[in-house]
Each structure stands twice: as structure tokens, then as C-alpha cells.
């Protein structure tokens, strides 16, 4: 039992790709050690010597902040990074007294190395206000209008397109649907308007706020104005669950928009039971907007897809830097539900498929990529349709110090074959090279059709591949000539949480 609990803890930690040990770990830091009188390059004192010494100590009794300086905070960042950062040997050593802001100092403490494609190796290095980060809510409940937008460009000239809407939301009430463009909000144009005004309209903090939106619907020749009132939105992780008949095949089509809501666990069990009862031959799993979440739910989904062939096999490994190798652990495909929203211990339904089609784009990340990697690790064939995934095989345990929660990469994941180097994402390719190139077809997202519409580009490509065993002509990135302006759309999907999302 202890072992199971320990394992579950690790999975939850990963969930997070940073579970969140954000409370102050050092409860006994009442005898502050004198800080070094001078910075010595290459000499690192333990981070515990500097933690909770804050330039602006919090008065909240749940924290143990002590009076300190920004330099103290920087010393803590420096030592903590050197202890935990996955690539600590690639960190620059910067004098903590040289930077007047802890956040600015932290920004500098990451590797400057690049991936094979030339991207920065570390694209996941950031901070968050601790109080914001700790904000809790009922699972899947938020305030908004019920649409998710893709921001084709976050800085002017911006373009905001609706990618999907939640059922029974203000968006659906006003017939706002996939492919619609938001032209302006409260008279401020999305393309060049004031970012604060746009954020205030797009991301209301309370229910009952009214904002005026000018919308251009898909294929419309003119705009329309709607007044949307913010409301309580219930996110539905399993967005579509249907069976498509094609010849003598029954193809399950499952859209999972997030692993990050606990209710996804029960919804996936229900969806899998439904698909199993209909005796599907193939599964098309649509993860194009799924940026990750609870890794344990993705592991459960892996079991539900692979079935008995996954029993006892490794879902993933967590690999830390060489100072923390004792913390490395591997974890199996689970046979039962962990109990995030389902009843703990419930046997997971199993489709027992030897292959799965996964629909993806750049927003497919983290736990979604872990699933792709884990299935390939046990020789379940993954056929990837869409675009290259985000490339985040890394995780962290967020850590609070003095009111800022720091995210620095502390471990990487790997599958049963030991592969985890997909920092440039999984790439749909003509052949599967066993590493980052996955057999599949490259095709851009198609906002001109509803999700689940069999002629929507990505789904249509998967259906074609199921029938013919190859990609349809014109589905490679270079050859694609979309018929509709929105039938080949790239952008960054953002969700309507109350955080400023528009850049000036």
C-alpha cells in the first residue's frame, strides 16, 4: 500500500509537471545563517541558508518570511537552481548582488543551449505570483463566456479566433462558434487596441460582467455586435465522443481538450466504456488543444487504449540531475482509477488497441506528449496527424520563496525504451524513426469546420489514412493548399482564465 501511495505521489507530482510543493519547506529556519559577505564564483552554499529571507516579508502567518534583501532572495535562487536544475552545469554563475529584482535574476539562471532545431532548450522557465498560483476552484469551474480562442499573434497586429466553445455557455447562446473572429471588445480593436482593455473584456473576473464584442462569423461578409455577460463556465474535458462508420470499420473519435481537470478521469472512463460497447476497431484521439494536466489521467488513458498489453509495463520514468538521481523513479501503466473524480480502485475499461491515431498541433503538450511517448514505448503504434507537438518532456516542482513561485526544469521524462528527447516536439513523418519522428501526416488545423465534422482537415486526414494506409495528397506541410483561409490555421490557444493574456 505504501508503495502504491508513493507511486501515486510521484505521478501527481508529474502531473503537475510540477505538483506543487509550494509551501515553505523549511519550517525550522528560525536561526538564519549569516549570508556570505562576498560572492565567490562557483561556490554554492545550501539554498536552505537563504530561503524565506525576503525584501518584503509577507505578514501572513502561514509563511515564515524573515526580513532580508533582494540579494538574499537571489542567493536562494542561485543555490536552489544549482541544486535542482536539470542542466545545472550549464547555468551561468551571476553575482546575486548584481540584479535588483529576484525575478529578473531568476530569468538569467537557465541554460542558453539550443535544441537541434535551434529553439532554446529551456522554454519553460518562469515565475508566478504565489497567491495567484495557489488560487483554488471547484474542478472545471471558471468565469468567462465559454469560448477558447487561438491568438494567431499576441502582439499587434493581433488576430483572435474561436477554436471551440463550451456547451450551455454565453458563447453558444449567442451562436458564436469555431472559426469566428473577434474584431473588437468594448470598442477596442483586437488587432491594435489597448491590451489592458482587451484583457478586461476577454477575461472577466466575476460573473455578470457585460462586454460588447464585435464578431465576424465564419464565412460571414459582415460583422455583428453581441453583448456577452460573463457566467460560470463548466469545462467539459471530453468534448466529443462519437463513433464514425467507414466501410466495415467502426472508428471511435474522442476529443479530449485537457488532462488538467480532475473530472476528466471519470469522463474518460465513461467515454471508453461507450466506445468499447460499440466495438470500435480504431480510435482517433484528438489532443490538438490539450496542453496537459494530470499525468496520472494520461497514464490511465494509456491503459484504456492499450489494454492488457500495457499490464505491468512502464508508462514513464522521471530522471533528475545527477545530484538527485536517488529520486529517479519509473511508474507503470495503472490498472485501476486513482480516484481524482472516479471511485478509487475502479478497474479501468480497456479497448485493447494495437494502434491509435492522435491528432495534434503545437498546443499538444506535456501530459499529451507523455501519452504519445508512453504508448510508443510499449509498441502501441501511434499515427500522428496534424502538426508537430509542443515539445515538453520536462517537469518541475514549483517552489515558493518570498511570494514568488519559481518554475525551473528539474527532471525529464522517458518511456519504457528510455526515450524522452522530444524537446522539438513529435513530428508527423513518412516513417517512424523510433524517436521524435512519428509515422503520420502533416496537415494544419482547420477552423472552417466543426470538431467532429468528417471533412475537417485533420480528422479527414486520419479517416483517409485509416482507409488507405497512407496520407492523402497535399497533406504535407509544404504541399498543403487550403481551400478556405481558416482551413490551415496556426496560432496559440489560450484559455479564458483571469490572467492577462494580451501583450501590449
Amino acid at each position: 500500500m505504501m508503495k502504491i501511495l508513493a507511486l501515486a505521489s510521484v505521478l501527481l507530482l508529474l502531473t503537475a509537471c510540477g505538483g506543487s510543493n509550494i509551501s515553505n519547506n523549511n519550517r525550522f529556519n528560525n536561526n538564519p545563517t549569516p549570508q556570505p559577505t562576498a560572492w565567490v564564483a562557483g561556490q554554492y552554499d545550501p539554498s536552505r541558508n537563504f530561503e524565506n529571507r525576503c525584501a518584503a516579508p509577507r505578514s501572513n502567518s502561514s509563511y515564515e518570511d524573515l526580513a532580508g534583501t533582494v540579494t538574499d532572495e537571489n542567493y536562494w535562487i542561485r543555490s536552489w537552481s544549482h541544486e535542482t536544475y536539470l542542466w545545472y552545469s550549464e547555468l551561468p554563475d551571476i553575482n546575486p548582488a548584481s540584479t535588483a529584482s529576484a525575478i529578473d535574476y531568476f530569468e538569467q539562471l537557465k541554460t542558453s543551449a539550443t535544441t537541434g532545431s535551434g529553439k532554446p532548450k529551456d522554454r519553460f522557465h518562469y515565475t508566478w505570483n504565489t497567491e495567484q498560483y495557489k488560487q483554488l476552484s471547484e474542478s472545471g469551474i471558471s468565469v468567462g463566456y465559454g469560448f477558447t480562442i487561438s491568438l494567431v499573434q499576441s502582439s499587434p497586429p493581433r488576430k483572435a479566433l474561436i477554436v471551440f466553445t463550451e456547451p450551455n455557455s454565453p458563447a453558444t447562446t449567442h451562436n458564436i462558434s469555431r472559426g469566428a473572429e473577434i474584431i473588437s471588445i468594448d470598442g477596442v480593436t483586437v488587432s491594435h487596441g489597448d491590451a489592458d482593455a482587451l484583457n478586461a473584456g476577454l477575461f472577466p473576473s466575476t460573473t455578470g460582467e457585460s462586454h460588447s464584442f464585435v464578431i465576424r462569423d465564419l464565412n460571414a461578409s459582415s460583422n455583428r455586435t453581441v453583448t456577452l455577460q460573463s457566467a460560470e463556465i463548466t469545462e467539459v474535458p471530453v468534448y466529443k465522443n462519437q463513433v464514425i462508420s467507414q466501410g466495415n470499420k467502426k472508428i471511435g473519435y474522442l476529443v479530449l481538450n485537457t488532462f488538467g481537470v480532475a473530472t476528466a478521469e471519470q469522463q474518460l472512463i465513461d467515454a471508453t466504456n461507450n466506445l468499447k460497447s460499440q466495438n470500435i476497431n480504431e480510435l482517433v484521439l484528438d489532443l490538438r488543444y490539450n496542453g496537459g494536466g494530470y499525468l496520472i489521467i494520461s497514464a490511465e488513458l494509456g491503459t484504456m487504449i492499450a489494454g492488457d498489453s500495457a499490464a505491468g509495463k512502464v508508462y514513464g520514468e522521471v530522471i533528475h540531475n545527477d545530484k538527485r538521481s536517488m529520486e529517479n523513479i519509473s511508474y507503470p501503466f495503472p490498472s485501476t482509477a486513482y480516484g481524482l473524480s472516479a471511485t478509487a480502485g475502479t478497474a479501468l475499461p480497456k479497448l485493447g488497441l494495437a494502434r491509435v491515431y492522435i491528432l495534434a498541433r503545437d498546443d499538444t503538450a506535456s501530459a499529451s506528449e507523455y501519452l504519445i511517448n508512453a504508448l510508443r514505448g510499449i509498441d502501441v503504434e501511434v499515427i500522428l496527424i496534424g502538426e508537430t507537438t509542443h515539445g515538453k518532456p520536462y517537469g518541475f516542482v514549483p517552489r515558493d520563496n518570498c511570494g514568488t513561485t519559481y518554475f525551473t526544469i528539474q527532471f525529464k521524462g522517458a518511456n519504457a525504451k528510455g526515450f524522452g528527447d522530444y524537446a522539438d516536439g513529435f513530428i508527423p513523418a513518412a516513417t517512424d524513426n523510433g524517436t521524435d519522428q512519428v509515422h503520420g501526416c502533416q496537415v494544419a488545423d482547420d477552423l472552417s469546420k466543426a470538431l467532429g465534422n468528417e471533412s475537417e482537415n485533420i480528422l479527414a486526414t486520419a479517416l483517409y489514412h485509416i482507409q488507405h494506409g497512407s496520407c492523402p495528397a497535399g497533406t504535407t506541410a509544404s504541399a498543403n493548399k487550403p481551400a478556405h483561409p481558416l482551413s490551415a490555421m496556426r496560432g496559440t490557444v489560450i484559455r479564458p482564465y483571469p490572467i492577462g493574456l494580451i501583450l501590449p
Partner: protein, 126 residues
């Protein structure tokens, strides 16, 4: 004569108490999602988790006895996306017992009695 009657009455009362005390709390649903009820529950949950400004739905404990609390996912283009990083969710259950309606935090098994809130028993739910 008076004394035996008193003893009998006392025994009856005690038996009644014991009988009531033996009823285990059972899963329940709220009979009314009034703002006052929801506010009281919100304060209980906030106290249990040591937090503030908790967001709860208007349909709390209407169709299920289980309340799942998790950290809000954060995304921003000002920072790289956070991919819905999430802590293990906290589970709360609405229970009905002889004391009335209770909120139980599943992980710690701590309980809070709700004041002037009615609930009805449900079954077959976890």
C-alpha cells in the same frame, strides 16, 4: 413510582441518543442552492484549505455529493503556458447524519456541521 418512571425515561432518551449516534453519516444532496447556503459552504471549504476567494459553482451538491477542489489552471502568453499544472485535488463530501448536514474533507476526514442547511440522502454514489 415517580423514580422508576424517571429512570425509564432517562433510559429511553439515552437509547434514542445511542440509536441516533449509531447511524453512520451518508452521502447527501443540498435541498436548496441558496446564496446563503453556498456562502456558508464556501467559508467551510476555505477554512479547511486555508485559502480565500474560492470559486464554487451555483449547482454545488445539487447532482453529486462530491466536491472536487483543484488549483486553477493558468495560461498566459506573457509567460510560457503552464499546461494546467495541478496539485492533487481535494475531495469534500456532503453527508447527512443525526447531527444534520456535514461537510467532510475526504483526505483528512475532518468534518464540519452546517448550520440551518437542509439536505437529503442519496445513494449509490461515491
Amino acid at each position: 413510582m415517580r423514580r422508576p418512571a424517571l429512570v425509564l425515561a432517562l433510559i429511553a432518551v439515552l437509547a434514542g441518543c445511542q440509536s441516533q449516534a449509531q447511524q453512520p453519516p451518508a452521502l447527501a444532496l443540498l435541498t436548496e442552492q441558496s446564496q446563503a447556503n453556498l456562502e456558508q459552504i464556501r467559508l467551510v471549504i476555505e477554512e479547511a484549505l486555508g485559502t480565500q476567494n474560492m470559486r464554487l459553482s451555483q449547482s454545488l451538491f445539487k447532482e453529486t455529493s462530491l466536491l472536487i477542489i483543484e488549483r486553477q489552471a493558468l495560461r498566459s502568453i506573457a509567460n510560457p503556458p503552464l499546461f494546467s499544472e495541478t496539485e492533487f485535488p481535494n475531495h469534500f463530501m456532503l453527508l447527512k447524519s443525526s447531527q444534520g448536514c456535514l461537510i467532510e474533507h475526504r483526505q483528512s476526514q475532518r468534518q464540519w456541521v452546517l448550520e440551518n442547511i437542509d439536505c437529503i440522502l442519496t445513494s449509490g454514489e461515491d
